[in-house]
Amino acid sequence: MITIKLLPLVGSFAENKDIAKDVRLKQVVPALDGKKEVVLDFEGIDGATQSFIHALISDLVRKYDNGVLDKIYFKNCNKTVQKIINIVVDYIQEAG
């Protein structure tokens, strides 16, 4: 299992989609391909945009199907961030 701390990468408001894509491609995908589980740690992050979360996780569901959600853990998310993650997780699966 690997843990990715997002605060040092994105600051307290997670909105930079370029960084989200970078984290996904350079850290999350290699970990998943290496059969490791991934913890995305949102400690210290006050808010996030739907676009950021979408760029971070949507393609994982498309690439690995929704079983990938059993291998990713979202840690230390406040209520707002949890809700945004849930919105994205729901619509990615709905869109298929």
């Binding site: 600051g11 408001f13 909105e15 930079n16 989609k17 370029d18 894509k21 006050d46 808010g47 945009t49 739907q50 676009s51 979408h54 760029a55 949507s58 393609d59 498309r62 209520k79 707002t80 809700k83 945004i84 849930n86 919105i87 994205v88 729901d90 619509y91 990615i92 709905e94 869109a95 298929g96």
Partner: protein, 318 residues
């Protein structure tokens, strides 16, 4: 091009201002103003600045300003952004607690820095800052990703203490919504493009419902929802058309179809090359941002499901 700054232009009464804008001769800009008083929504100032940036500074002609409130144009940074000198002498105040001056944002990194700097300027509590940061990030990133605007995004915001509202304008002079959405959808008019841009799950980057790995087609729907849930105005103007979300006293419901919201349409405006977004955000709302997200979640997932079903092929029985 000609633009006249009227006595008053806010989102509720912005239509006459937009109708008066003269889009001819793109090499020159003439700015005139009401002689007595000018009180303007930040989106109006952002439009003036965005137009000015398409013209050489020596080709911008500003009529001698006489309005008592003319110093506001200096303080908000209009002349500075356009590289012009004004004869207006003001005592500079610390802008904290009042406004975000006209700012040009040209890159992702600039935007991230701007969002960090913006919150202290407006002196907001964390829960008040949340929707503002959200709106600014999503709208400016839309400019980067969809507008092909050479000048980037022009932003301006002002806090109005008496009404406890933040008014925000974000403007670009890029390709406009029709061309952007038209890359993936067959559309024939600006208003049709605006409708699609406001519909959840639709983005100009793909015809696939739900978007791509980088674009979900949710940004403008979220932002319109923020305005609607707070009973505030929101406008989207591109090409010859403007959609305006009108305020309503009734309990807000989020609709997938933006034309089901209480709104007005204007399809005969002077042509705006690019996109203009104006939004008001009331800060005194009892409803938390996270509660709004519950409504958005239901509406968005329903939208994706309905749009997918609409594309299903039907069985042919012979």
């Amino acid at each position: 091009m000609k633009i006249h700054l009227p006595n008053s232009a806010f989102l509720g009464n912005i239509d006459p201002f937009l109708r008066s804008f003269g889009a001819g001769n793109p090499d020159f800009l003439e700015i005139t103003a009401n002689k007595k008083w000018i009180s303007l929504h930040p989106v109006v100032l952002a439009m003036v600045a965005a137009l000015g940036l398409t013209v050489k500074p020596e080709n911008i002609f500003i009529e001698k300003l006489e309005a008592k409130s003319k110093h506001y144009l200096e303080r908000i940074g209009l002349f500075k952004l356009l590289g012009l000198r004004s004869d207006i002498i003001i005592t500079e105040h610390e802008p904290a607690g009042r406004f975000i001056p006209l700012t040009r944002i040209g890159s992702s990194e600039e935007l991230s820095r701007f969002i960090v700097d913006m919150v202290p300027l407006l002196h907001l509590k964390p829960d008040q800052a949340e929707p503002i940061k959200y709106v600014v990030s999503e709208l400016v990133r839309n400019v980067f990703e969809h507008s092909s605007s050479k000048a980037g995004a022009i932003i301006c915001a002002q806090f109005y203490k008496k009404s406890n509202i933040i008014r925000i304008g974000i403007v670009d002079t890029g390709i406009g919504i029709k061309k952007s959405i038209g890359a993936s959808y067959k559309i024939s008019s600006d208003i049709e493009a605006i409708k699609l841009a406001l519909t959840p799950g639709i983005t100009g980057t793909t015809s696939r419902i739900g978007g791509t790995e980088f674009n979900a087609g949710a940004g403008l729907f979220f932002i319109k929802s923020i305005a609607k849930s707070a009973h505030d105005f929101f406008i989207l103007y591109s090409g010859n058309a403007m959609y305006k979300l009108l305020t309503s006293a009734s309990k807000p419901r989020l609709y997938i179809d933006p034309f089901r919201d209480r709104h007005s349409l204007n399809e005969e405006l002077p042509y705006w090359q690019g996109t203009v977004v104006g939004i008001d955000i009331s800060l005194g709302q009892k409803q938390e941002f996270s509660q709004l997200l519950d409504f958005v979640r239901d509406a968005y997932v329903k939208a994706i499901s309905e749009q997918k079903k609409a594309k299903y092929k039907k069985a042919k029985f012979i």
